[in-house]
Amino acid sequence: MTRLYSFHGGVHPPENKRQSLGAPIRQAPLPARLILPLQQHIGKPATPLVAVGDTVLKGQKIAEPSGHVSAAIHAPSSGSITYIGLQPVPHASGLESPCIVIETDGQEQWIERQPLTDYQQLDKQALIRHIRNAGIAGLGGAGFPTDIKLNLGRDHIVNTLIINAAECEPYITADDALMRERPDEILSGIEIIAHLLQPSHILIGIEDNKPNAIKALRDAIRARKLPIDLVVVPTRYPSGGEKQLIQLLTGIEVASGSIPADVGIVCQNVGTAAAIYRAVILGEPLISRIVTLTGFALGHRQNYEVLIGTPFSVLLESAEVDRSRMFRLVMGGPMMGISIEDDRIPVIKTTNCIIAATREEMPPSPPAQPCIRCGMCEQVCPASLLPQQLFWFAKGREFDKARHHNLFDCIECGACAYVCPSNIPLVQHYRFAKSEIRNEEAEQLKAAQARERFEARQARLAREEQEKEQRRKERAEAAAREQARKKAEAEQADAGEQDPEAELKKLKTAASIARTKLKKARDALKNAQEKGLDGTDKLEATVLQLEQSAQAAEQAWQNATGVQH
């Protein structure tokens, strides 16, 4: 048996789990409309692959991951796409977000399933791609895309795989029901995860308040002879927090700011393991999950197998809600969940529980009193923080100090607010401070980006200015050169008339050329006369002409020299 460690703090709120465990998992009705938010996971929203009017089959991919941290979305049932756009989504803000709406046709007609039963023979990357294609995101609550946790690469060596079956929050029994009824699905899923990560050690952490689930799992493990340690931990909220469970089972404290993989540990939820089994062995993408419907305003309090996208209202009706008694509708558990006002919102991949509480069950919180510095919050904080200190910083908007006191290690478990005798809504203060800090960071990022763009623009303008200047200069230079050339030409022309030396030379050359020509002509004439050829008269005329022009040239030269000397 593995040794048990412990984590700091923790509380024992009333469990209220029994109400929803009286009956087995029930299939929720097929709703007329399925609403599928594009963002059901941590990371970037998915990108739709369908258009309004398209008909889709059950299990057909209708949106694909956009980016590394993102998850695909599949049609939970067959029907046609009637709307793509804003719809209210399960979010603390109560705001709308892009969704794909499917009008179901009631046929439940499956697309061809593509199981990978021989996954052990397959390339690991192909298997991870298959899981990514199935749109699996952590079903435990955060909704982190599972393929990333299974694809850690060489920089993380995984030696321990922890399967989180603690389900520590009151009211919620979805994992409990899954373990009781489908332990084999979970174990097959664990086998697939183990095949991918090759851990040396596999642990399942489960709280001791689930004897039936423990028995079911233990029997299944024994029957399959799997090397899995089922570790039963004492019931104490929040033992199911990832870092808390790791500390409970291994004694390792995951440092602030690092992830379990940094210390060689990967945590997966039982629901996620079952979803992986379904995706790989049955070829069914993540299109449904188990949701606990509980609270005393419901006629049937039990777990439902619900198609993703089913509106809360449909489930509430199916569980025979008494709206006159329903005082508050909570999504998630009573410690970490959020109150919602609009029950048209759909179940998403991370919805594990819906509580329709009566006034007696969840009365309005009494007014907050001043903090009396009793220190009770500090004693129960599982993250070993100083909640009252964080509260002061958040209230005084001293966010830097809050951050330095590790505000971001707070898992918002609500244990501090649960014990606070002054009823201070501590978690609200932390959520407020966290979102202010995140916002500030985003703004700083944007400012840095704007600075860069501004500087780039300044540089561009300077460059353009310089280029313009350069061109202007070049043009000016070219014009100047052109002018200079023209001027020189004109000057040369002028100089031809004026330069006496050159003129003289020209005249002299002309005279000598005329003389040479005359001589040649005379020779030709003489030659012709001697031989008695005809046409001598013509030659005589030429000689006469040349004689005249030679004389004229001689004369001009003589004149010019005369002028000169």
């Binding site: 603390a92 919180s365 763009r453 623009r457």
Partner: protein
């Protein structure tokens, strides 16, 4: 006597050695640029709107480091003034209303069918966040727009609107819990429900 001389000599030697090291470090690890201007610039919102009277945040940062007032930046508002006062050890003063009021952040949107493609807004945008070409429809890259307002004025057909960014679940912020003394039992407002939500 000799011990004193030796001690003095050793100290001198040490002083020399450390002096050399320091001198070397000063040259080797010299910080480029004017770090205080960088620090001031890092605190300014980088809207580049020019409301401070300088052509951008960096020039204003330089002016502040030369002694200009720290309360001339409306987009930064009071929080920026406080951060600057903290950095420069100056008095916190209210925003100089001569330069404008602190307003909620907005982003420019061009009513695209009205745009005549004159490119005037592109020339005005300090961060090149507007796309378009002559005689073509122009559009604003929302993620890059700083909301500086500078493109609105030059547009000859007045087709640019400054609108607040829509709140989505991604940029939504948790509200501060309702101030405690005002809370009464029968108050079933939103803040109240939120408070109870985690209990």
């Amino acid at each position: 006597m000799t011990t004193i001389v030796t001690a003095v000599l050793i100290l001198l030697l040490l002083a020399l050695v450390f002096g050399l090291i320091l001198g070397f470090a000063a040259v080797r690890f010299r910080v480029e640029g004017d770090p205080i201007v960088e620090q001031i610039d890092a605190l300014l919102p980088q809207t580049q709107c020019g409301q401070c009277g300088y052509p951008g945040c960096r020039p204003y940062a330089e002016a502040i480091s030369n002694g200009d007032a720290i309360n001339k930046c409306p987009p930064g508002g009071q929080s920026t003034i406080e951060a600057l006062a903290d950095l420069l050890d100056r008095e916190v003063v209210p925003l100089d209303s001569e330069h404008g009021e602190e307003q909620p952040k907005t982003v420019a949107y061009i009513r695209e069918d009205e745009c005549i493609g004159c490119t005037k807004c592109i020339q005005a945008c300090p961060v090149d966040a507007i796309l378009g070409a002559a005689k073509q429809m122009h559009t604003v890259i929302v993620s890059e727009c700083t909301g500086c307002d500078l493109c609105v004025e030059p547009c000859p057909v007045d087709c640019i609107d400054m609108l607040p960014l829509p709140v989505t679940p991604t940029n939504w912020k948790w509200p501060a819990p309702v101030s405690d003394p005002n809370l009464i039992l029968t108050d079933r407002g939103r803040g109240h429900l939120l408070q109870g939500g985690s209990q």
